[in-house]
Symmetry: C2
Subunit: 508 residues, 2 copies
């Protein structure tokens, strides 16, 4: 125990020990039945005589805060009835240092944090949540994974628990390269960097290429945690609207010319939150523009392989000249987010720089997660799991589309995505998603309000619905509840709704 | 398979498919025996007629690049003898985009990356490595951990594989708070943020509080990956020398006044690389100065609990007023680095901001790692493992000190740390650690040259030796080899050594 002792103080040493321990016991930091260090050990570790510590313990015992059990040591006593123990952080008006107070005004307020709090506010135990950004976890073969993990630890032992290769566990990088190549994006293991989910991939690229004040071109709406990432770095965002064919690329050149962005961040395939998929021609145009204006493209392919119908679009990475596109993906949506394994693919000098950035960020990704994943996935097993996942997700998407048609009042519109996880819904005129949220929560259903994907603070009549996490019967019930909430919202907003001018939002 | 197809191109569609696949096969991206998609499936996914794909496959077969096995599909053929397959990235003079070329001159060169390369250059299979920054992994009860992990996955299943609480798995935060409180740093679970190792803790604080051009006060020498972290952010470093009582705090006020640093980064207890431990009086002075100049302190306590003898010093966190110090720690040095679990403790508004930063960095730390660790450690088990680790490390430190006394030529000096992992050694006059490195590698021993911990590029006559990773007999042999290398180095530098003026380096 490292107790702060001040030898120059006028307070006797045993009193200092007594006061320190008393404070910890009263605050609950040392809970009842905690064994205090033996007097001999504590004295030795503080460089004091044993009698000093014995005196301190004796005083604490006299106060009723500790008790001695002969032969086994000194323990924290159960709380006295009239002495309530504090719970959690002492909230009594603490004066935080000035630099902390400044922090409040200087830093950005995360949009997604707001969503978390909103979601946490819904306490109905039977609430049906369409707000999630996750894939379905009921499809994951947990038992099989557990056995594999067991085998790996038995076989490789401590090798799974060291730092490992900075760029990622080599056999896993090989498997990743094979999966990507088999999907039409030729990839070499030496261009793969394993990351802690795709979020870290985005973060590494942002930190390497951006400095405060730089401009980043993004789709609007876009992935909320990417907005937060860029805002946290004091980077300015330039939004390009999305329609049913993805980013409106004909608007890109103006932006490139006038704002000279340092990076284009895009989710071309099964875009989050709209579900739209960028057409092939636009993909080529975007790459040509990025080439002409010498801007790197950060391609977020978080759900590109979750395609249910329609044509497969090539990745930007596969279309572009070498070194133009940095391609970021994750295993979280299809396998398990809790493993926190994603990866990026990059070519040229930027690859080694990203490895350096990874190193200063967190040294390496968990070898345990990487070894477990590598042992579990082979190209064949991965493709089989992908096929099965796509089948299930397609059924769930269809279930949600049918339920929406049944339960939504006229004036509501939504997208019919051909892959991914999300449907993007626009409410009838005059109704905002944020206003609707408490009504929906009362009915027992949640969604992600459009405002968290938006670049501005303007009221939003859109919402994102996750169709893949629940089975069809739950989806039906959830959308029924949502329909009821929308009806109630329309009644509440009364005749006013008709008077509010229809917002010129982009509908995909 | 998402093959880039250009419908507007004058190249026939089947040719486009053929060319794409040919390139992948020749480059090795599609290795021999890979099964190509069924023609029906590929045609459907590309939105083309089946005959187009069949034609493409037929052409590839005619080229000898694929073969068909009746009833099971089309496969990549083994390579032709006169067609060497490329390995790894095609290194043929690729012209990287301009923004990539600029990157090379704009970004920092990591010091530690150099160490990695240096270490990798030593290929003798019997090399004894004292260069590592890790703890000993032979002490970790792997079997027990494996069984616990198995139980946890069986019990909690999918719960271990979701994103979980942003701040970290709540039971783990509770255990961490109890361990810290029991060690004399009163801590509440609500002030604990679980991170991917302590490196991420440092990174989050740096990214929240620093902007390019800001000044950070650090010890010199200091932890190399912290130097890299700050340099990667274009932050300026202000070094305060270290002696045997830690950071020379009497030099701090001048620096605070003249350079107005935004952060003080310190490793007060068993400093990396010197092993020194800051005395209690200096700790109080440092806190008082940070208070007066309103500068946050980032306390890196990576090995603070690994104490073998001498008095226990309180953490800065325990000594300071609430909210002044951000305390960063890791489980990597004592348990397993491969889990990538560390944590930070912070109070006040800065805590929530750090949670936000964590979110944009990588959403959350691996729940699998956290659940496994939580199931494995209890306060009692942790303290028992800590006791055992300290006993073993102490014996290894003693073995290294004795071996140094036996084998080092006169003029060599080294520290006698009372805890931690490292001994800091100064070579006899005129001999630089970088010059010595190849000689030592020849003899079959490695060390971490002082230059990687240094703020300047000046030649360095220091080295860091890790005493905890090897058992005593290996340490004895390794230091014998090092002694031989130093003797050779002295002979090589000849009479010159005596003429070179002794460098005024700080020896702790």
């Amino acid at each position: 125990m490292r107790i702060p002792i001040d030898c120059d103080s006028s307070v006797p040493l045993y009193r200092q020990i007594q006061q320190f321990l008393r404070e910890q016991i009263r605050s609950g930091a040392l809970p009842p039945e905690t064994r205090l260090p033996a007097t001999r050990d504590l004295a030795a570790s503080l460089g004091l005589s044993r009698i000093t510590v014995t005196n301190a313990y004796a005083e604490l015992e006299a106060e009723g805060l500790v008790y001695t059990r002969r032969g086994s040591g000194t323990f924290v006593a159960p709380p006295l009835p009239d002495l309530p123990t504090a719970e959690g952080e002492p909230s009594a008006a603490v004066e935080w240092p000035l630099w902390q107070q400044r922090l409040l005004s200087q830093t950005w307020l995360p949009v997604h944090g707001g969503l978390d709090r909103l979601m946490a506010s819904v306490t109905r135990p039977d609430a049906i949540r369409f707000s999630s950004g996750m894939g379905a976890h009921d499809l994951f073969p947990l038992d099989e994974f557990r056995r594999t993990l067991q085998d790996v630890l038995r076989r490789d032992g401590a090798a799974c628990l060291g730092y490992g290769d900075r760029r990622g566990y080599p056999p896993l990088r090989t498997t990743i390269a094979q999966i990507l190549s088999s999907q039409g994006t030729p990839t070499y293991p030496d261009n793969v960097l394993v990351t802690s989910g795709s979020q870290q991939g985005l973060g590494l690229v942002a930190r390497l290429l951006l400095r405060p004040g730089d401009v980043v071109m993004v789709e609007t709406p876009t992935y909320s945690a990417a907005i937060d990432l860029f805002r946290s770095m004091d980077v300015r965002l330039l939004g390009v609207p999305v329609d049913e064919e993805g980013m409106q690329v004909d608007r890109v050149e103006d932006g490139l010319r006038s704002s000279r962005p340092r990076l284009i961040y895009t989710i071309p395939t099964f875009h989050n939150p709209t579900g739209s998929c960028m057409r092939g021609r636009r993909r080529r145009q975007l790459i040509a523009l990025a080439d002409r204006y010498n801007v790197p493209i950060l391609e977020d392919d978080f759900a590109g392989e979750l395609r249910f119908d329609g044509c497969a679009q090539p990745t930007l990475k596969a279309l572009a000249p070498p070194g133009r596109v940095i391609h970021v993906r994750t295993f979280s949506k299809m396998l398990m987010p809790g493993l926190r394994v994603g990866f990026l693919v990059a070519e040229g000098p930027v690859y080694e720089r990203l490895v350096d950035c990874k190193r200063v960020s967190d040294l390496a990704t968990s070898s345990l997660s990487q070894c477990a994943l590598e042992a579990y996935i082979t190209v064949g097993r991965y493709q089989a799991h992908l096929r099965r996942t796509c089948q299930v997700y397609r059924r769930r998407r269809d279930a949600m589309l049918e339920a929406l048609a049944r339960h939504m009042p006229p004036g509501t519109r939504w997208t019919s995505p051909r892959g991914g996880l999300f449907i993007w819904l626009q409410l009838p005129a005059g109704l905002s998603a944020s206003q609707l949220y408490p009504l929906a929560a009362e009915e027992g259903v949640t969604f992600a309000p459009g405002i968290v994907f938006s670049l501005c603070e303007c009221p939003e009549d859109h919402m994102r619905l996750n169709f893949c996490v629940h089975p069809p019967d739950v989806i039906e019930e959830g959308i029924r509840r949502l329909g009821r909430a929308v009806e109630r919202g329309l009644v509440d907003s009364g005749g006013e709704a008709a008077l509010v001018p229809r917002q010129q939002a982009v509908v995909v």
